[in-house]
Subunit: 346 residues, 2 copies
Amino acid sequence: MRSRIRAMNRRAILSGAATLLAAPGIRGVAVAAAQADPLPSWTEGGPRQKILDFVGRVAAAGGQDFVAPAERIAVFDNDGTLWAEQPIYFQAAFALDRVKALAPQHPEWKDTQPFKGVIEGDPEALAASGEKGLLQIMAATHAGMTTGVFNGLVADWLRTARHPRFDRPYDSLVYQPMLELLGYLRASGFKTFIVSSGGIEFMRVFAERAYGIPPEQVVGSSGQTRFEIESDGTPVLLKEAKVEFIDDGPGKPSGIDRFIGRRPILAFGNSDGDKQMLEWTAGGTGPRFLGLVHHTDAEREYAYDRQSHVGRLDKALDEAGERGWTVVDMREDWKAVFPPQAWSAP
Amino acid sequence: MRSRIRAMNRRAILSGAATLLAAPGIRGVAVAAAQADPLPSWTEGGPRQKILDFVGRVAAAGGQDFVAPAERIAVFDNDGTLWAEQPIYFQAAFALDRVKALAPQHPEWKDTQPFKGVIEGDPEALAASGEKGLLQIMAATHAGMTTGVFNGLVADWLRTARHPRFDRPYDSLVYQPMLELLGYLRASGFKTFIVSSGGIEFMRVFAERAYGIPPEQVVGSSGQTRFEIESDGTPVLLKEAKVEFIDDGPGKPSGIDRFIGRRPILAFGNSDGDKQMLEWTAGGTGPRFLGLVHHTDAEREYAYDRQSHVGRLDKALDEAGERGWTVVDMREDWKAVFPPQAWSAP
């Protein structure tokens, strides 16, 4: 009896250790792969097998493809890679909803583009206002307030807004197979980062809840902030209407270098804006995994690639073919797309 | 005998677990404080006791000052806080050495300021060239090459250059008590970051070796980089002679927000350039620790504060007095300043 208790205790200690091994950010530890299927929503074979093979190789201590845990950096685009991006980028939906919410305080918007187009639900007028119009909308909705106020607005919106087609909160439209992949990588000693053209502050509001990715592992586009002490002595950061950094296309390798300072060994994207991130990741020595999510599932999600205005996948798809990058066919390779309806980001 | 082996094994398992607990980045774990003195180079009482009290409070599960590990963010200035900064900032010493090394390829420098002043060792001419001269030197030594080439130059310099007074490698002139503090914080579930006006790429070359701070936890000033594919197909990042971000003074709260995205609960600096970082850290709710290293030890290191051109500590010293921030008197509070002579960053 006594020895049985002792054996149990030892098992408890070891299983406690296994939990520790799976904790994010831990180093110097090889994780046993003999566990429950880490990728249950991925179809057998294909990309799933390539992922399992790659992770197994880099985590195998003593193997020729072993990569020290500190170097196991994985980067993921967000829009269209970790969550949906149709019919418009979700951050754009937030911005348009903000314009509508602010309209009563701005009677002049009724007669001024691009705001008139937003308020009247006229996408053509909005499109006609071009990049200048977009910058005006961003300035009106993403600047002129403290970072704290902005974060609160995003949190409120995520709680109340619903996706027009799926009638679910936007942050529940994350891809179940990618959640599994993120967890599997972290359990295998990887540090997972978002590298997205989306707004860094916008993403940080939900990235930790939705993906288990903490704010300090989110890289994105940003506007400048200005430090000020308010009249009551409170220090604040004011969001200014000045672009600081655009983390898209060739900006992604720069963003990775600036924020992470190491070259990733795994990169996942879904559009031409991710091409240079995958090229930069591929350019290092040692084992590499390059992946693209190909949106092929009009029934469960959306089907789009070379002609799409949102998340266009054209040149990067050609390059994937030429260089043997892994292309995930959403319809074929994913058993599930979104988490169950009842799921919501915790 | 058998039970002794069993006991040893159990001890080995437990001590392995203790090592895991001390691993950087681990979450959800309270670390028992009953261990060897974590701060042996700090004099009894004073700042040492304040640090121990603070860390004990925030790490005590169930206590009213408990802070979840994910929120245990600690930020440190680098120059003058983690390593020395006299007689000139070490990165400036690197830049001047680079000018001398490059001079044979630039015969025109013999007759052109600020390079002439550097080559002839004429600090007055150099000072007279002002900020414009400094930017010229930075452009000549920190730009026009790939990030990989630059990192190699810094690594070579750290290996070969010696500090003029101490005749030691620059990266051995780190503060022993601060190394202990960094380790103690990490063992207590903190994530430690550098937030410095120094160049982010320069610091990353040695920060992991010297401080145990990985590249992705270094925040600093930067120049822009540009992604390019070289003619042989190699992707590179070129360092351009354009300032991207100055992480100093009011820039430090912006840098913290941009890179970390959480407000720290502990901040340590040594100069007026750290004032806003400490104010921003102090401005959050819950327990806070604000520290300043005061250079009071001309014998073992340097003594300077309100009048110094390097690392001036004037307004922040006044504010520390008014607000009860912890001021470390280097002469009184540190038993040792640098690691032993034989030590070098691994």
